[in-house]
């Protein structure tokens, strides 16, 4: 990067006795090696005092000195050399950072002949040495000894310097400036190349951004479509089943949920109801939810596990335990993906109020008795579906009395966490449901949801929340004489 036309390397005079004052061992070694390569003799002192001693021991041809050194600085060393009659004509090069114009004055004052700014190219230093040795100071030159007054940055300096020394210093300062300027020009060119590159990268980024936003809008569209499919797994808002009052609430924590629930008539005498909670969230869980949903349909079909049609056309309701066992078998077919689900599925016999149910690792069924008795939890020990192969699920029964309410829910209710990560818990849920006694069941379900949401303020629930409530009201059952017939009611 430096202009070395002044004949670095080859044209340098050989056999010069060089004295280096430099406190950095590494820098001294590097300089020494380069000078030795050029055929010079090199001595080195690691501070001004040591170097001065070396100079007095044997007069060098030229001195190269750093400025910042312990014991004796480069300025002090220079002054000592220049005031020593035996040494004063030795050319003296200061290695300076030249960060302050006052440095020049200090150098002048100390009597330095030349400046080389750090960092420097060794060849550049060699060229400067050549130039200095070519125009030696004569004893006469420095004899003048006039005092010059210089004002710099509001400060007056009185320096004593010979004409040749001032000229040398002026030239070296100018050469330094030229060299730095060339570096600046090159740096500027590099910057301009970099700027062009940056502009190009920027354009590429912009086009990538457009691509990402296009893909993103596709994904949002797909997610919306998937969420719509998922909503089709839920009962209608105004679901009505004769002989019952039904209410449900469902709040997914993301656009796609792992939870879903449903309640529907299975035939004229039976209503089926379930809550399913697939582990995890997002696309994989919701896909599994949709797949599970296909099997949990009251429509007589090949895929329905809930109802089956005999060869005589009679439709029978499959017992909940068999449904769970079948589901478990079906979802074991693949290599276990790490996805599983919990399920609470029950069948309510509308004329008698008998409730058969089965749990697959699901939180307890809750009953709020109509007779004023306390909230009952009916937990069932069982594995989640798709977790353990070849499990025979058990079935339980509850005999309801008119007005009894059953609540099915996902673990998003009892495990909802407040800001200190305390779970909402069974106790709070029981208290909430107890308090809703006497209100319509829709209010009881809505009240529980809002209690959970309040519990989770400010972050909101981190899990899907599903709540399904059913109240058995046989009085609302129209006395249909064909009620006990086997006619199926595909809807």
């Amino acid at each position: 990067m430096h202009d070395t036309t002044s004949g670095a390397g080859g044209g340098t005079r050989a056999g010069v006795d060089v004295l280096i004052a430099e406190d950095s061992r590494i820098q001294a070694r590097m300089l020494e090696r380069r000078l030795t390569e050029a055929g010079h003799t090199v001595r080195w002192g690691e501070n001004g005092a040591l170097a001065l001693a070396l100079a007095r021991e044997r007069r060098p041809d030229i001195i190269v000195s750093d400025i910042e050194m312990p014991e004796m600085t480069g300025y002090e060393f220079c002054k000592a050399v220049k005031t020593d009659p035996a040494l004063r004509t030795i050319p003296f090069i200061l290695l300076s950072t030249l960060s302050d114009p006052i440095d020049i004055i200090r150098g002048l004052d100390a009597g330095a002949d030349n400046y080389v700014t750090k960092p420097y190219e060794p060849d550049y230093l060699l060229a400067r040495m050549d130039a200095l040795l070519a125009t030696p100071l004569t004893a006469a030159d420095d004899a003048g000894g006039e005092m010059l007054e210089v004002t710099l940055a509001g400060q007056k300096f009185r320096v004593r310097a010979g004409r040749q020394q001032v000229l040398n210093l002026l030239v070296s300062t100018f050469e330094n400036a030229v060299s730095k300027n060339q570096e600046l020009v090159v740096a500027n060119q590099e910057l301009s190349v970099a700027r062009d590159g940056l502009q190009k990268s920027n354009e590429e980024l912009t086009s990538l951004n457009a691509e990402i936003s296009r893909i993103n809008s596709h994904m949002i569209r797909d997610l919306k479509a998937a969420a719509k499919v998922q909503r089709s797994l839920l009962p209608p808002d105004d679901v009505e089943i004769p002989g019952t009052h039904v209410a449900w609430r469902y709040v997914p924590c993301q656009s796609l949920a792992g939870d879903f629930l449903n309640v529907f008539p299975l035939d004229a005498e039976h209503a089926g109801l379930f809550v399913v909670d697939v582990s995890g969230h997002g696309v994989p869980s919701s896909l599994m939810a949709v797949t599970v949903g296909r099997f949990l349909t009251p429509k007589v079909s090949d895929s329905s596990l809930l109802v089956r049609q005999g060869p005589d056309g009679r439709v029978t309701v499959v017992p909940p335990a068999e449904v769970a066992t079948q589901l478990n078998r079906l979802f074991q077919a693949d290599e276990f993906s790490g996805l599983y689900f919990t399920l609470l599925y029950g069948v309510l016999h509308l004329p008698t109020g008998r409730f058969d149910y089965c749990s697959g690792g699901h939180p307890a069924l809750v009953r709020l008795p109509a007779d004023g008795g306390d909230v009952e939890f009916h937990p069932m020990e069982s594995f989640p579906i798709a977790f353990v192969p070849d499990v025979e699920y058990e079935q339980r029964s509850l005999q309801l009395v008119a007005g009894d309410r059953l609540f099915l829910y996902s673990d998003g209710v009892p495990e909802a966490m407040d800001k200190d990560r305390n779970p909402y818990g069974d106790e709070a849920m029981a208290a909430c449901l107890r308090a809703s006694r006497g209100q319509p069941i829709a209010d009881g379900v809505a009240g529980l949801l809002s209690a959970v949401e309040t519990w989770c303020v400010p972050e909101g629930p981190l899990d899907d929340v599903s709540i399904l409530g059913v109240e058995w009201q046989p009085s609302s059952l129209t006395n249909d004489p064909s009620g006990r017939s086997s006619s199926s009611r595909p809807r």
């Binding site: 582990s279 995890g280 276990f336 599983y340 690792g361 594995f383 977790f387 673990d411 495990e415 990560r421």
Partner: protein, 118 residues
């Protein structure tokens, strides 16, 4: 010994020890990394004995249970044994609701669990 981000591993005799570093195992990304690291750790070992130490874990998502199920299946297929220890009562509740405390071999702490491997 390999350095993992999510798990700390060790070995005593033929038993692989795994300590989960995370306090919360809720995020899908964390879960995926744990899955990868566990798979990597068990690697080629056929029928390994593995002890999972949950002492650091304060919160755990239900999806983690699925991962444990996978691991359980993989290890038992090779006639290895999977045991767990250091599970907090709050987390143990999740195991109990899903009955998985019966499927998995769960112990109070590492020394107790290690004693049952013999």
């Amino acid at each position: 010994m390999d350095q993992f981000r999510r798990i700390q591993t060790g070995k005593t005799g033929n038993i692989h020890l795994v300590m989960f570093k995370d306090k919360k195992i809720l995020d899908d990304t964390v879960l995926d990394e744990i899955r990868t690291e566990l798979t990597h750790m068990i690697g080629k070992a056929s029928g390994p004995d593995v002890l999972l130490d949950f002492s650091n874990v304060e919160f755990m998502s239900s999806a983690m249970l699925g991962l444990l199920g996978q691991l359980h299946r993989k290890i038992s297929t090779g006639h290895g044994r999977l045991k767990m220890c250091g599970i907090r009562p709050e987390i143990l509740t999740v195991f109990k609701i899903t009955n998985l405390d019966k499927l998995f071999s769960i112990h109070k702490d590492a020394p107790t669990a290690l004693a049952t491997f013999t």
